[in-house]
Amino acid sequence: MDFPKVDSSDSQSGTDSTIRWRTVCLVGGVSVFLLALVFLTLSTISVFIAMSNLNKTYADKEFGTVAAPSTAFLESRLAASKLDSVSLVLDLPQKRVTLEMGGVVVYDALIDNVKSSPVIRKLDSKSLVALAREPSRIVRWEASVEKEPITILQAPATPEEAEAIAFEVPENKRYDAFFTLDLDSGIRLVFTHHEGFSFKKWLWLTRQNLNVITNSLGSVFKGEMPRYTPVISVDLSPHDALVIFRAIPENGYAVLNFTH
């Protein structure tokens, strides 16, 4: 930035405009900084509110018996086994993701890397068990690939035209599947994969982070508390990520097993 000098031998009007220009810059800079401080404060408060809400919702949930996380996980898998559709089973202590249909494991994948938000790590043990005790419904998802890769084919008018299409050998495309699943329990699952440095992954994660910042800032501007969502980030191999994303129904269920 090129800031004009104040104490130069400019005319009075020139000095005035310089002071005005400097004032605007200074007020702008201070405002940005203050906004950032307010944003940080509100965001921190919203993290505590989110944790308190999760504890309030789950710690007081009556299940009749007290359970350990491992038992809660089995109970949840059993509840999901009543469904015919695919359920996503995320066993964080064992670093495994499985797909189950009617209680049968149809796909099994190893997690390369897993990271949970500090809120999940600091959650009341009772809440953690209660959270794991019931399958969570997927309420929203976002992905870098399509759920169903539909291609439109216009019906050929003649057999010759049809023959030309038939000779096009299909190829096995490689997809970079990164996706997020928002659960009704208030937790977001983020699935990515890494094979060395991936610009696509970096771009996708940056976009996700920017979305979080802009949504939270939007709330601050509207005078509302920013909404905090605890995240569990899971790294899988590329084809496991794709298989899992394509297999899970849009409003499917996820079963989670986590400990502190």
Partner: protein, 218 residues
Amino acid sequence: MIFKKYLSLSRESFAVLVSSFFFGGFLLLIITPTLSEKVILLTSSVKGEVPDNESLVKSELLLMDKLERCRPAGAYLVINTTLNQFQLYNKRELVREGVCSTGSYTKLVKSDEESWLFKTPKGVFRIQSKITNPLWRKPDWYFVESGLPVPPAGHPSRFEYGVLGDYALSLGSGYLIHGTLYQRFLGLSVTHGCVRIGDEDLESIFKTMPVGARVYIF
């Protein structure tokens, strides 16, 4: 004015000051989501009561037994439509695995009113019937896709032997697990919704899977 003394700073000092506010502010905005949740680590987590070991082991064994009973004791087939792979299980053991072909996700459009989406249905199915030397009854889409006029139902041009391989297993609603003449396409998503399997694998599946056996497609 409170900013007065800052307004009279030298050009360079003023630039540093304003830039610090701007960049500091932007940096803070960017790191806020990470920083704000790290604060929670300063708090202590609450440990709840955990049931005693004996009752825990008992209830877990009971649950594991219930889960294990969800798995069919006999033969069942798992089909992965994304990777175009299958696994055949019998008596809870994997007995065979290999490649298959499933729906291409092609939408064939004839007109605004008439179109077909070639996808393999997902879910838990049961083998409805088993057919040796199956006859293919060509549906309307075959003729549309081939650029031919659609013949009336029952027309001889609608029936053909040998196209579906030596065996077929019906999943209901017109969907079959069958053989193929296009072995080179196995492992690719190329079918109209049926599951195509190579000759030897198909024979093994046909012989292992009884009518009523479950097929898990995902």
